[in-house]
Symmetry: C2
Subunit: 464 residues, 2 copies
């Protein structure tokens, strides 16, 4: 038996017309019309199922097949026939059907619409539904397109570490990683835990960002990017937060904030265009069943020039509309999602980079502007979601960076290697971070992060 | 200033001949010949450095430049001149040189060969050396080529979870992940830790394999693969073990062990060919300075048909040479590296798949063969290293799998969702795991896993 994937048949219908093929897949529906029947068979190679027609006259196990449940795995051998006058473009007339694995009547995914809440309880089965089949194929294509984008530009992919012993990334609460027996951890004489006996000889955590490590590599390769999992131990049970999620963090030497934004804009456009091109059926599905304006919005973003505005200018604009906001805007406050969406949706009607935020609301490593008050940071805001990317030019001046570390009460010794980069051939450089799940949500219109993660980890939940 | 990457100049020398360019990079060497000098400038865009010639007559800051230390970041503007009679194919005649960031005299990477042990203590700087520049570019190209290989075949990339609450993958010791305060963890009345107050409401760990999760997706998409970090908390301080490493785990529905081996063989060949093609300078470097037989060996593997032999046949062959081995071989024992290398290097003189191992030495999910004694497992052995891939056809029969789980004293309840896959449309399927670092070691000839990991995590070491 040589298996033919259903995607290949749909991709080259003329070629397969009249050909004998063997397809292997799972029944989405099965209809018994007494002496003939129809099966919608899906093999996961593409979004669409293929229609199989089976007849009592030509199938000796007709009765066995006719009583199969939804979800059964079948091996179908038969002839491809184009059906230009029918709803589906072709069908397979079965010469033989073999049950590879039956499905039980209590199969949780019956032929009806299930709520996403229920489907999260069967995360091992939900990729067999249209919604999740589309979501996770788009996720895969988007991930690859990000690799393509950076590799085609000569960026080096760096696997930055997941376990970190430096508690100093400062981007949120961290998970502890340990091999000590929690019931009976070794103690020092003063009663404290003896971390010298832990696996790494000191306390360790799960990373919240690969950026500082990526900078090490940018100072050697020029242009690098990360793409890996990151973690937040925050007790926030929202639609947009997960404890484990994937991030892309490019880092570019000899690059300033303007160059940083250029790359971010090009990347977003590349990912959108690639997904629209390679996943047309999935994107049509999302546009029809999840978010009616999706395709129009994405096509607009892919072709629009992104706006650029300083934080100070943005605050001036927003203050004129403070009556519309729950949180009133004034210089020095962080922008909330309501403000971000107002800017990108109402004022600019396209994506916009806000730049040069007050240093107090941004991270220590961002480059201090000449005004002494703001840093060369940028957030990219997109219609329908708000912030999708955060980036900055990094502080490359040793004395300024050391002063900032002191000012924030952090310990410069914890950053000895990061400071070394400023001692030996320091240079202007910049980078940004894209939360991958947020990008997939944006691409699909799916509003809950749990539904774009294959097996989501959130507060109180690490099933499967 | 529009920066030109050095890789572009080398890639299109005729085009750049006579052109004015601006290049930005770091000095690898600098030689002052009194009124002119030479700089080897490397910008990380390619392995090679470019030669910059600077003259006192045409450079007003000649003295400043001549006294720069190794590692300084420079911005060089000048004309490209082909030098067909010289050692290097071209050079840049500097019209201006600007010091972007000086380097200190104590810069650890001086112009001499440093040992890899020393370089591990400066992991933030070592990618600036030839060895690590080559290693980490090959790593990046190999990673991308794996994505290419699977995406071109329609495989869906799945991000399987890093944090897992199922303690049941059974592939080694695990790191605990927690947000409980270790100094003062909440306790139940009986004195045990109260994990209901931990982040996930129960004990959690770092994954040792994404396979079981990948199977969920293979039963929907047919062909899927993972590529992500995995963890082992084993206290083994060897050249081949790290606590954190990356794995590739494809999983294929309607695929048996023979098909599994076909994909593994094609993948290895694709990665080797891609790296040889895209990293010729790096591979020449490894062949000259790390492992003299490297190129020949890789070219052989990329073109040879891999052998296939059952474990039982392999044991018969090896037993005839038991006098050569520290560990004597007999049926039922696991093969050691010495046996694996003997088979692939002496007997087959090419890569070889060993199949159908005794069930006692393999994992619970591998498919039981009709003999009742062996399972449909395979290890792929390659000359120079031994095992590089382990795979198997998975047990798709619910009753056989449940019996095996019981037999091993494991709890079937822990596997409810994995068993569900056998209840609803089960099918023949197979997959394998490739340890990515082992592949990079094989590609580069580098013998210590610490030297192919950007920031290695091993027993007692999680620096940077």
């Amino acid at each position: 038996m040589k298996r033919t994937e259903i995607a290949r048949i749909f991709a080259d219908m003329e070629h397969f017309d009249g050909q004998d093929v063997t397809v292997c897949g799972w029944t989405r529906t099965i209809r018994d019309m007494k002496n003939f029947g129809f099966i919608e068979l899906n093999d996961g190679s593409c979004f669409k199922s293929i229609q199989v027609v089976f007849e009592e006259g030509s199938l000796e196990n007709y009765k066995e097949i006719a009583k199969q449940n939804v979800g059964a795995a079948l091996i179908v051998q038969g002839k491809v026939v184009l059906t230009p006058q029918a709803k589906q473009p072709l069908e397979i007339k079965a010469a033989s059907i073999q049950v590879e694995g039956p499905s039980a009547p209590e199969y949780p995914l019956q032929k009806k619409r299930h709520g996403v809440e229920f489907l999260r309880t069967v995360a091992h089965l939900r990729p067999r539904t249209n919604l999740f089949s589309a979501a996770f194929r788009v996720r895969s294509v988007a991930a690859f397109s990000i690799h393509e984008f950076f590799q085609n530009r000569g960026f080096v992919y760096v696997h930055t570490p997941i376990i970190t012993a430096s508690d100093c990334e400062g981007a949120g609460e961290m998970f502890r990683v340990t091999t000590l027996d929690p019931e009976n951890a070794p103690r020092l004489e003063n009663g404290q835990i003896d971390y010298s006996q832990d696996f790494f000889g000191k306390p360790a955590s799960l990373t919240v960002s690969g950026q500082l490590n990526a900078e090490n590599f940018a100072m050697a390769f020029g242009n690098v990017y990360t793409f890996g999992p990151t973690f937040r131990a925050e007790n926030s049970n929202t639609q947009r937060h997960a404890a484990e999620f994937w991030m892309i963090e490019p880092e570019m030497a000899f690059c300033d904030l303007a160059g940083d934004m250029d790359v971010a804009e090009d990347m977003i456009k590349y990912v959108i265009r690639t997904v629209l091109e390679r996943c047309p059926q999935e994107m049509d599905f999302f546009n029809s069943f999840v978010d009616k304006g999706l395709l129009e919005r994405l096509q607009h973003v892919a072709s629009a020039d992104f706006g650029r505005v300083t934080y100070t200018e943005a605050v001036e604009i927003l203050k004129q509309h403070n009556d519309k906001f729950d949180f009133k805007v004034e210089w020095g406050t962080d922008l909330q999602t309501e403000h971000e969406r107002f800017l990108t949706e109402q004022v600019y009607k396209r994506p916009v980079f806000v730049t040069d935020y007050p240093k107090e609301i941004k991270a220590f490593y961002m480059r201090l502007n000449d005004d002494g008050k703001t840093v060369a940071a940028t957030d990219c805001l997109v219609p329908g979601i708000g912030e999708i990317i955060g980036g900055s030019q990094r502080e490359e001046r040793l004395d300024v960076l050391e002063a900032r570390i002191q000012e924030l009460g952090m310990n410069p010794q914890d950053y000895w290697w990061y400071l070394d980069l400023r001692r030996y051939g320091s240079c202007k450089h910049a980078g940004f971070g894209l939360g991958f799940e947020r990008m997939v949500m944006y691409l699909t219109g799916i509003s809950n992060i749990r539904d774009v993660l294959p097996h989501p980890r959130t507060v109180g939940s690490a099933d499967f």
